[in-house]
Each structure stands twice: as structure tokens, then as C-alpha cells.
């Protein structure tokens, strides 16, 4: 393999990785006890909607996918998102969503926590329900 062809392959691989990240699929999932419309997702992650029927909602952030989630779903950057939660916490005593490290932790938490709502980039396994795929 010549240097030129190696560079070409590397460039193609990088391009694929970038495009894969840019178009990564995102799945908003919830504990099976949650009955939620996909139009409620924004309100849940802004602390506006705290209950689904009698179930207290527990939004969970996914550190590995938060940037994609904020850009594609919430349409805001991390600074704005954190400020919203600081104001919510300051005014209403709400606790901001805990941040999990990745899909495994999110799925594990959502499975065992009634009311939990999270998001992952890998197709959701059994034990959680899909609210919406982005």
C-alpha cells in the first residue's frame, strides 16, 4: 500500500466516522411504567413536565450522547441547558437530571427506575420502551 493510498483510505475512514457521528440515530427511551407522548420530551428535559399520570418522571442525561441530544432534540447548547436547570432548581427546588456515562448505564437505570426517561444511540434492548427515534 503506497503512502498515497493509505492517506486516501484514512481520509475515507475519517469521513465515514464523521458522517456517522453527524447522522447518529438517537432513541428516547423510558421505563415501561411511563406513558408519554413524543411531544412531551422537550418539556420533560426542561423540567416543565414532571408527571406522566401518577408517575413522577425522572429524566436522565447520557453523557456520551448529550451533545447530539441537545442539538437534535432540545435545539440548544449545553450552557443554555445547564442554565435552564440551574434556574429550575433555584426557583422550584428541582434536581437536574443525573448524568450517566453511556448507553449501558442509561438503559440499566431506566429499566430499574419507574418514571425514568433517557436517551441512547444504540437500538434499545428489551426492558425499556421507545418513545421516539430521531
Amino acid at each position: 500500500m503506497t503512502l498515497r493510498s493509505a492517506l486516501r483510505t484514512l481520509t475515507a475512514a475519517c469521513g465515514f466516522a464523521v458522517s456517522a457521528a453527524a447522522y447518529a440515530e438517537l432513541y428516547v427511551v423510558a421505563n415501561p411504567a411511563v406513558h408519554l407522548d413524543d411531544s412531551d420530551i422537550k418539556d420533560v428535559f426542561k423540567g416543565e413536565k414532571q408527571f406522566a399520570g401518577a408517575v413522577k418522571l425522572v429524566p436522565i442525561d447520557n453523557g456520551a450522547a448529550q451533545e447530539i441530544f441537545l442539538a437534535d432534540v432540545m435545539r440548544m447548547d449545553a450552557a443554555r441547558y445547564n442554565t435552564i436547570w440551574t434556574k429550575k432548581s433555584f426557583r422550584e427546588g428541582l434536581i437536574p437530571p443525573p448524568v450517566k456515562s453511556g448507553d449501558i448505564e442509561v438503559i440499566s437505570y431506566v429499566r430499574r427506575t419507574p418514571g425514568a426517561v433517557g436517551y441512547v444511540v444504540s437500538p434499545p434492548p428489551n426492558g425499556v420502551i421507545l418513545i421516539r427515534k430521531y
Binding site: D40, D43, E48, K49, Q50, F51, K56, R75, M76, D77, A78, A79, R80, N82, T83, T86, K87, S89, F90, R91, E92, G93, L94, I95, P98, K100, S101, I104, E105, S108, Y109, R112, T113, G115
Partner: protein, 460 residues
């Protein structure tokens, strides 16, 4: 003789040429052989190198097989560890959420130089400690909420004041209703509950002056002790929210003695004579009182989906307020107003609040008094920089007991402009310039002064 010499020379030349040919051919072949030998050596070296590489690759391939086997086993172990860590983390998170004490806060320090110099006040200069504010949000379950806020502030006399700013315990029935009991931020307008002591989360350094805290001479009760019901609904075209509350009505303490309050046909002759007499501050009576009076209020707002970031609201406050003058004044404070905020996902922040007062003198014969106050603020965020500007105006009737006895109950106009730089998401450096015209300092007396402030504010 000459011919024989010529023949001999020619023969010698022919012989030389004849002998030189094979000699030259012999040397050329030798050079070729040497070159071929060199090439062969290089080829052998190359073959050796390739053989070494192949051997290395074969060894690596053999090792890779083992490594793949090992990797599969390690992956299973890592997955098991991840799950274990996840469970531990989840349990810790859950325990922190249920039993822990989430504690947050704000702090700010700064420098100021005020040019105020009139009969009402002298401006300060120098480095200043702002406020150190701690708030805790312990959670006892899904529906019980608590907010406790403590603020520490350095006073001008060198002491440090600790205020229990909020202590409210609530119960959430659902999105549409959370009931709080205790001391809370009075939910009028937007600023008072959105920012309050959170210097880092407000764009500007200072609050609008008429919305100052009670101990700083604010003209409205920034806190109320009582009951507060709050909630919101998601509608088809937006979100509708409300606050209703009832609590202890404030009292005005520290009214200057001897100013013949309540007996004058036009309140505060000291003011009219240019000798300024108002010095009272609102006392929120957060432990009740022997002569209870109730304050009530509301706030209703709507956020349309069609215009993300916009909130439109109306608000009101009603309370019978007495002061501690020798001849006690009783005033029915009646405030109604409206506000609008616009803060989309980025860039713009627009705030505007309007307060209209229709106060009734219940102890004297001066009747009803109309006043108003308001502000408008605009900021634009570009990266880490946010330039902002604000205009404030308060036209307060000095014949109204409620304003006349208060230290900050004078009319004023202020223009402010500044720049905020977000050092990081939780720290901001701000600079702010004011020009304030202080009115009602006596007949025809006003004072216009500049002020500059620098603030470094954090949240945690």
C-alpha cells in the same frame, strides 16, 4: 628511411588499436559484473528484510489469535464490571437523590465607584463583597419538596448578616399544582423569582432598583411568608402557568420620627422642604405578628409554542401595610402589572416588566394615589460576550404614605449598559455603567450621578 619509419609507426598504431580493443571489452564486463554483484547484494538484503517482516507478521498473527481469545474473555469481564459499576453508581445516585443534600449556591465579589451625593444618600467606592448564597434542595420522595436558602452578606458597618432567605416545604400534586408553605420569593413579575440572589445567572450586575431587596431599600416585598400554589399546563399551542399566594403583609419600620406622618395634607413635608425624611424599610414579619394582616397576589403567564422563548405574563399584589410612625399610617397597597420575556435558545435576552400602583390611604384623608415603575432590558450573546442595556423608570407619588416613608421611595430614572464575559459556564465577569437621576429630593431638587461596577460572579 623516412618511408620505413612511417611504415613502422603505422604498424605500431595498428597493433596498439588491435590490442586495446580486447582490453577495453574486458574492463567493461568487469564493471558490469561488479554492478550485478551489487544489485544481487541489495536484492539479498531486501529478501532478508522481507523474510524478517514475514516472520514478524506470522508471529503477530499467531499472537493475534491468542489475543482475540483473550479479548473476548476480557470483554465479558469488562461488561460485567461495567454493569456492576453502573449498579453501584445508580444506587449512589438514587441514594443521593432520595436522602442526600444537594447543595448549590452563588457568590460574587466586585468593585464599584458611585458618584451619588445628595441628601438621601452618599455613594460608595472601592472593592466590595457581594453575596454568598447557599440553597439546598433535599428531597424526601416523589412529591415532597424543600428549598432552603441562606444568604450571607457583608454590611457597611463591617458585620456579616446571615438571612434565611427561603425556607419552604412543598407538596406536588401534579404538574398543575405544587403547594408551598414557608418563606418564598414573592412571585411577581419575572426577575424576582428567576434570578433573585443568583448574580451569576442574571446578565446584569444589579437588579432594577425598584426591585431591590427589602434590606437594600426595595419598595416591594421580595419575600413573603405564607402559602404559595404554583403550576403549569401544557396546552395545544403553548404552556400556561400560574402562581397564587397569600401571606403576612409587610410592615414599614424605621420611619423617621417627628415627620408628622399621616397628619400632613400632603405627605412628608420633610421631602417637600428639601430635607428628606423617608427612611423606612419593609419588614416582612416572617414570624407573624400580634396584629396580622394578609397580603395576596397572583402571577399568570403563557409561553406560545409558535414563538419559542417568549413568555407573556400578568401579575398583582394586594396588602394592607402599616408603618411604625407615631401616628400609624395604613395603606392598602394595590399593584397590578404585566411583563414579557424573550429568551430563545441563544443570542437574545429581552426582559420588560411594568408595575402600576393604585394605593389607598386608609388612615388619612389623602385618598388614592397612582404611581408606576418599570424597566426594559436587552442583551445579545455572541460567544462568551453579552453586551446589554437597560432603562428603568419609577414615578412614585410622594403624597402616598407607602412610598413616602420608604428610604427608596423616591422617583428616579436610570440608564444602564454593560458587558458580560462568561469565563466558563459557571463564572461570569461583568462590567456595568449607570447614569441615575434621583428625583423627589425636595421641591425641584434632583441629583444625577454616574456609577461604575465590576463583578465576578460564580455559581456552583
Amino acid at each position: 628511411m623516412n618511408s620505413s619509419r612511417r611504415v613502422a609507426s603505422a604498424c605500431a598504431a595498428v597493433l596498439a588499436v588491435t590490442l586495446a580493443g580486447p582490453l577495453h571489452a574486458e574492463s567493461t564486463e568487469a564493471a558490469k559484473i561488479r554492478e550485478l554483484e551489487k544489485k544481487l547484494e541489495r536484492s539479498l538484503e531486501l529478501i532478508e528484510q522481507l523474510a524478517a517482516k514475514i516472520k514478524h507478521i506470522e508471529q503477530a498473527s499467531a499472537g493475534l489469535g491468542d489475543a482475540q481469545t483473550k479479548t473476548a474473555a476480557q470483554a465479558a469481564k469488562i461488561e460485567a464490571i461495567e454493569k456492576h459499576v453502573s449498579e453501584i453508581g445508580g444506587n449512589l445516585s438514587r441514594r443521593a437523590s432520595e436522602d442526600g443534600l444537594p447543595m448549590h449556591g452563588f457568590a460574587d465579589v466586585g468593585i464599584l465607584k458611585s458618584g451619588e451625593s445628595n441628601r438621601a444618600a452618599k455613594g460608595r467606592k472601592g472593592a466590595v463583597l457581594g453575596m454568598f448564597d447557599l440553597y439546598l434542595t433535599p428531597r424526601f420522595g416523589d412529591r415532597v419538596k424543600t428549598l432552603i436558602e441562606l444568604a450571607f452578606e457583608a454590611e457597611q458597618d463591617g458585620s456579616t448578616a446571615a438571612d434565611l432567605e427561603r425556607m419552604q416545604i412543598g407538596y406536588t400534586f401534579g404538574d398543575a399544582a405544587t403547594a408551598w408553605l414557608g418563606r418564598f420569593h414573592t412571585p411577581y413579575g419575572y426577575w424576582n423569582t428567576a434570578f433573585h440572589h443568583g448574580a451569576q445567572i442574571q446578565t446584569a450586575i444589579q437588579r432594577p432598583r425598584f426591585l431591590d431587596f427589602e434590606h437594600d431599600g426595595g419598595i416591594l416585598p421580595a419575600h413573603t411568608t405564607g402559602i404559595w400554589l404554583s403550576g403549569s399546563w401544557g396546552l395545544e399551542r403553548g404552556r400556561l402557568g400560574y402562581d397564587v399566594f397569600a401571606g403576612n403583609a409587610p410592615q414599614i419600620n424605621g420611619v423617621a420620627a417627628g415627620s408628622a406622618l399621616g397628619t400632613a395634607g400632603i405627605f412628608s413635608p420633610a421631602v417637600n422642604a428639601g430635607t428628606y425624611g423617608g427612611s423606612g424599610n419593609l419588614n416582612l414579619r416572617h414570624v407573624g405578628s400580634t396584629s396580622h394582616r394578609t397580603s395576596t397576589g397572583f402571577n399568570a403567564w403563557f409561553e406560545p409554542d409558535a414563538w419559542y422563548g417568549l413568555r407573556l405574563g400578568v401579575h398583582g399584589l394586594r396588602a394592607e401595610v402599616v408603618d411604625d410612625a407615631a401616628a400609624v399610617n395604613r395603606t392598602l397597597l394595590g399593584m397590578t402589572g404585566a411583563y414579557a420575556t424573550y429568551h430563545p435558545a441563544d443570542s437574545w435576552e429581552v426582559l420588560g416588566e411594568y408595575y402600576r400602583f393604585r394605593n389607598q390611604d386608609r388612615s388619612g384623608g389623602t385618598g388614592n394615589h397612582g404611581s408606576w415603575a418599570g424597566f426594559a432590558q436587552v442583551g445579545y450573546t455572541a460567544g462568551k460576550w453579552t453586551p446589554f442595556a437597560r432603562a428603568e423608570r419609577a414615578r412614585l407619588d410622594q403624597t402616598d404614605n407607602y412610598f413616602g416613608v420608604q428610604a427608596n421611595g423616591r422617583s428616579y430614572a436610570r440608564l444602564a449598559a454593560g458587558l458580560r464575559y462568561d469565563v466558563d459556564p459557571k463564572a461570569a465577569l461583568k462590567i456595568e455603567l449607570h447614569s441615575t437621576r434621583q428625583e423627589d429630593l425636595g421641591p425641584g431638587v434632583s441629583d444625577t450621578y454616574p456609577e461604575i461596577r465590576l463583578q465576578y460572579a460564580i455559581r456552583f
